[in-house]
Amino acid sequence: MSFIKRLLFLSVINFLDQNISNFLSEFFIIIPLTFLSYCFYVYRSDKNISALEAFLLGLFFDLISGTYFGLNTIFFCLVAYYLNSNANSFKLFSYLQVCIFFGLSASAYVGFTQLIVNLYNFSYLTLFLSSIVNIIFCFIIAFIAAYFPKSINMKL
């Protein structure tokens, strides 16, 4: 997938993310769809993702999501580095372990972003509920991938 295609794909996910989060915030739940999609993209990619690409994508999402510059960038760079370094190790892990890893990564992302953009109303309830929901969400995606492989088995 070319860089522009990836950018457009992630932008659509980001648009969905912003619309869904408005509804989910009523239930103290945050699912960072953009971040999870980016993790999925890095995880499924055949090649290593460059630091510059992670940085530029992060900056772009900071701009379109209206958050502080650098917020997504830090996480995109960190996750790209970590997944690049451990891409082969991940192949030895079970779906359960991978799902828990991505769910907890999403929770860390939620916690960090809440600390930056919502410090005055930081809520442990939101963090706790989001962690559980994110892990369950990753399980659902893994189940879909296992039972309907064609729907997820896209070439990245």
Binding site: S25, N48, L71, N118, Y120
Partner: protein
């Protein structure tokens, strides 16, 4: 196919971009250096949205309406609705029950009370419902281009916030933004306080020392603007107390529910004075 482990050079690249990202985040948090880029992008987004709507949806709507017998009625209805919103705003200035009625200076001088009409252009409901930063973009419809910075914005129910940036569209700092501070007072004029935005939809928080301000505050007590600070006029009803929390012996906190919400209408007034 197995992926290669990043080389030392690639690792250094990641470290470099990580440090740059942290620096950018620190700069953005501590200064307003990136505000122009953000505002420029917001303006671009809003303009593109309207242009695209004008090019794609509006012609289709026009065609659809053309073949409908009710098309003229729909148009008329839209115009009337727009006029109704404007007349709502005009009426509440001259009505006796408007938010300014307690302020004698404004009320007696009501025919010289000038304001511009503004239309809502963008508000991020995600940020408004969750986060500390509560802003909205409005377009001030005025014949003469005046400086609207620090002018206060209201709707037909009450005060909404103040303009902090002006470009093609004006950025409004809402009362609920955590960086906003609103000087308020009780009806008896014996209690004054600076109420900060809570970061929550519809609430502001006033912290005070009960040893300094002896007046007893009760639930549902109404608060007004004190006029201090020079942005908001005096004696405008802001909201009522919903919760009183005793933090410690020298600090109490009042949670005040605001009367007006920016989501109530698309039309606003911007005080010219």
């Amino acid at each position: 196919m197995a992926r290669t482990v990043p080389t030392t050079g690639q690792k250094l690249n990641f470290l470099l971009f990580l440090v740059i990202s942290i620096l950018i985040l620190y700069l953005d948090l501590s200064s307003n250096n990136f505000q122009n880029i953000k505002n420029g992008f917001k303006s671009f987004k809003i303009s593109s949205y309207f242009i695209l709507k004008e090019i794609t949806i509006e012609p289709l709507k026009f065609l659809q309406n053309r073949y409908k017998t009710k098309s003229s009625l729909i148009k008329e209805n839209e115009i009337l609705r727009e006029k109704l919103k404007l007349s709502d705003l005009n009426n509440f200035i001259t009505s006796k029950e408007n938010i300014f009625s307690k302020n004698k200076e404004i009320y007696e001088d009501k025919y010289n009370f000038f304001y511009d009409v503004a239309k809502l252009r963008s508000i991020n409901p995600n940020m408004f419902k969750c986060c500390d930063k509560h802003r909205m973009q409005i377009e001030v419809i005025a014949k003469d281009k005046t400086d609207n910075i620090e002018k206060f914005v209201f709707n037909k129910i009450g005060i909404i916030g103040q303009i902090i940036h002006q470009n093609k569209y004006s950025e409004v700092l809402l009362l609920t933004d955590t960086s906003h501070s609103l000087p308020i007072k009780s009806e008896s004029d014996n209690f004054f306080c600076n109420a900060r935005g809570s970061g929550r939809e519809g609430y502001i928080i006033c912290k005070y020392n009960p040893l300094v301000w002896s007046e007893e505050i009760i639930k549902n007590q109404i608060f007004y603007t004190s006029g201090m600070g020079g942005i908001y006029p005096k004696d405008i009803e802001v909201g009522h107390v919903t919760n009183i929390e005793v933090v410690n012996s020298i600090e109490q906190s009042l949670l005040i529910k605001l009367n007006a919400s920016p989501l109530d209408s698309n039309i606003f007034g911007v005080l010219k004075n």
